[in-house]
Amino acid sequence: MSFDAAYEALTDHDDDARWAYGTGFADPLAGVDTAVPAGVDRAELGAYCVMLGDDALIMSHRLQQWVTRSPELEDELAIANIGLDLLGQARLLLSRAAEVESAGRDEDALAYLRDEGDFRNVRLTERADPDFAHLIARLLAFATWRLALLDRLTASADPVLAAIAAKGVKEVTYHRDYAAQWVVRLGDGTDLSHERMQVAMDAIVPLLDELFVAHETELRLAEAGVAVDPSGLREEFDAVWAQVIEAATLRPASGHAPAPVVGAPADPAAGAVSPAVSQAAGSAAGGAAGPAAGGRHGVHTPAMAEILAELQGIARSLPGGAW
């Protein structure tokens, strides 16, 4: 029996055949009005959708790797569901990107056939998690940042991005709550869990600055009212991060000074200064390594090669294979 025939036997209807590695499903944007607003550069809009789509795709892949490895069945389900939500967001965003760029690619081609340097995800999404505390700390950082971003994106001049964001806000709210509650449970738990949660939170801090450094595409599209300038998200991020750290009886990482939030609204000077300080810190950190060294420019950590080998291996070795 040939390889192809073996697959054939598993397929009861012709129209049920799936691309073995792809979704093979209907375009998730099927029937959605996908006109691009006047004055918006299609190439830039496509590039921006790829950035946000890649963040979700790579984070989802890392979450999927926890399936069968979670500490309890309930967390297995939670992590799988969070990964599924993000995969859904990735499909919508990559479909939008494919359609806007009009280069004959679809969501599957973007996910499975691009090389590492063409991926635009932030590097926070790539890191492997050595234990559950590290996963939870990374998920808290990712969800807090993405929720702040998507919440602002609901006002995008691109109606498709605004609609994807509006759905995403509802989902990521639950993701952030899940991660935050675990940080509190472990941080405010036993001496051992407290210490391990502290180590995990500290380990995330060096990955945070990149989240708030804008790529030139993000800046130009933000000016056009389409995208969100990530440098404006730092204040909200720091406030949530500090709230969780405090509830978890953890200490802020040394060298990381979150914007003061308690009582800050009464002090206009503090309110005006802290975002500027945060931005300066972000630029300095970006500048040290060079802003072009980040994931938004296609520069990734060594972990990315391992992720793509797993994500794309079958797709590339069996092009067109169906089951």
């Binding site: 209907a26 099927a30 959605v32 389900l77 569901n81 909200e236």
Partner: protein, 187 residues
Amino acid sequence: MTRASATAVSGVAAGGVGCTAAVAVPSAREVAGRVADPELPMLTLADLGILRHVEETQDGVVVTITPTYSGCPAMDAIRDDLTAALRGAGYARVDVRTVLTPAWTTDWITVAGREKLAAAGISAPGPAPRRAGGPVPLTLGASRRSVPCPRCGHPGTEEIAAFSATACRALRRCPACREPFEHVKEI
């Protein structure tokens, strides 16, 4: 059924679609609305509130649905089920479209849908959270609201996990009757 017999006459006019004269041809909206949700099969698509528009055209029907969650894996099955049901009812051309906005909310689950959920031992969602403005509030407590037990009515149930067999359900337990149950979480 009651409605079908009350409009039995119309079945004659629309013969040739696999119906006898004694049975009415239901409207496309009725056919689409009766399709069961693949993951909560006690609910129809109409009960769940994801069926947004059904429009009969000259040669078929255009159905517009909205996903519950971005990653809902049932969307493809729902499209297939809708197409099969409507083709079976005689509509030659079935076009299933997606609409993303406004985003689905559990507030759209109908009263009948809530009763069916309760009958199946699944707690129906309360009102979806509304935000006045400002950043999305963080919830650090284990549970957002008081959810009564769908079996014994005890009001003080507790959340075991915010995610269950699907993204749209949470797992809870009742300290009175000691039964675990699923709750469709507010979104």
